[in-house]
Subunit: 254 residues, 2 copies
């Protein structure tokens, strides 16, 4: 396929590389910032463009990989396109692209940073198309670069994003709260690393319901009360400790 | 050193093996349950005992590695001992052992399960002694089996345990809540595994403060409100979403 990549951020970079390696030709890389367009285009043997007038209107596939709130303004500026037009955003519905005849979503479900190499094969790739044919084409393309390609509706993507907020953003916040507690007692965060890695690694073998450990899961009120008391000086942490302990207890009694 | 290991659970098992491999002699393994004592003693080329009358009173080191609430009753039954007496519990103060002349704590900070092999070298080992000489001896012993041996007071161990509740138990609970959300939309938990692993792996390179991502960390109210609305049917998850989002926002504005 001859692809036009619109965007030059983390997702555009990793996705562009994976598709290039899979044998597709990235014809153009579009970014409003010329140095960004040039930098990524060079890596992909593509032509950088910064003006939509230069857009190749006969490409097979247009991938819009830019910030959520910049998507609609860009879509409105695009000419009529016969190729496939997709975005890569988890929380944006398919329908935002409805002015194009063939449109879809191509959503890689992972956090990316530009500097870290990514094995795309292991990353879930969720696709959706406005028609069966489009969806099937996108699934085939996704399977070329990922072993975890599957269909997902806009609703499912939305829910997956919320699940990711719990399993990634809120988890990171738990790490930050733990770090606060250690700092206040002159202990290095490093002490937690083996435990953090083991807790995550367990998820490949056990369901999170079965792997729940700790005072709340044993309903060990002696330790729970001791912990709450120790957190007297850190009311914010104390409040969260109570709330999350209660949440675990509630789940056990379901 | 000639060691008596009291207990046959996960910590006793892994610690006993590590000390045996480091060249120490495990003379006896004590457990009230004869099959448990026998099973572990066999692995460590030790003598199993189930009766405290059989206890070798001239061993160099007694390691009490049993459940927190069983520690005090066992300690009260022990004879006067001249060797070093230590427990392995995170949340139990050193002072519980004060009836012995040389006493301390030898606390490996990791979750263990019997079936999983453990590389003790990577596990933080926190030691405390009732006198400088005892503490130094314990630190040296810890350094023989772990690259992460260090002193920690009873206060610090207590705080570390609370930090672990956040970084391990509450994190696991976040995984469980994410699983609920996926199940309700017919999506497999497996989709989250790469994200979970990456979120944990980041902690080896970045502080949790710097690695915080997601709608709350960007104060993206449009997405936050959309997520809260999507959780209408799951009031428990909705409430926690609000509480944790607020907690991240509060942290940012500090």
């Amino acid at each position: 396929m001859r692809i036009v990549l619109m965007g030059s951020g983390n997702v555009a970079t990793h996705l562009g590389k994976a598709l290039h390696q899979a044998g597709h030709s990235i014809g153009q890389v579009y970014s409003r910032t010329v140095v960004h367009a040039q930098a990524l285009a060079q890596q992909l043997h593509a032509t950088p463009i910064t003006d939509l007038c230069e857009l190749d209107r006969s490409a097979d596939w247009y991938i819009l990989s830019i910030k959520d709130d910049a998507l609609l303004p860009l879509i409105e500026q695009l000419p009529v396109l016969e190729g496939l037009v997709t975005h890569t955003a988890g929380s944006v519905p398919l329908a935002i692209l409805s002015r194009f005849q063939h449109h879809g979503v191509f959503y890689p479900f992972q956090t990316f940073s530009k500097s870290t190499e990514v094995d795309f094969k292991t990353i879930p790739l969720l696709v959706e198309g406005n028609a069966g044919q489009t969806a099937n084409t996108l699934l085939q393309l996704a399977q070329e670069i990922s072993d975890k390609a599957q269909f997902a509706s806009s609703d499912q993507r939305g829910q997956l994003h919320i699940a990711a907020v719990f399993a990634c953003n809120f988890v990171n916040h738990m790490y930050a709260l733990a770090d606060d507690l250690l700092k206040s007692h002159q202990l290095p965060f490093d002490l937690l690393i083996p435990l953090i890695k083991e807790t995550a690694a367990k998820m490949e073998q056990l369901s999170p319901q079965l792997s729940q450990t700790g005072p709340a899961s044993r309903n060990d009120q002696q330790i729970i009360q001791k912990h709450i008391q120790s957190l007297e000086d850190q009311p914010h942490h104390q409040e969260l400790y109570k709330t999350l302990t209660k949440s675990i207890l509630d789940k056990l009694s379901l």
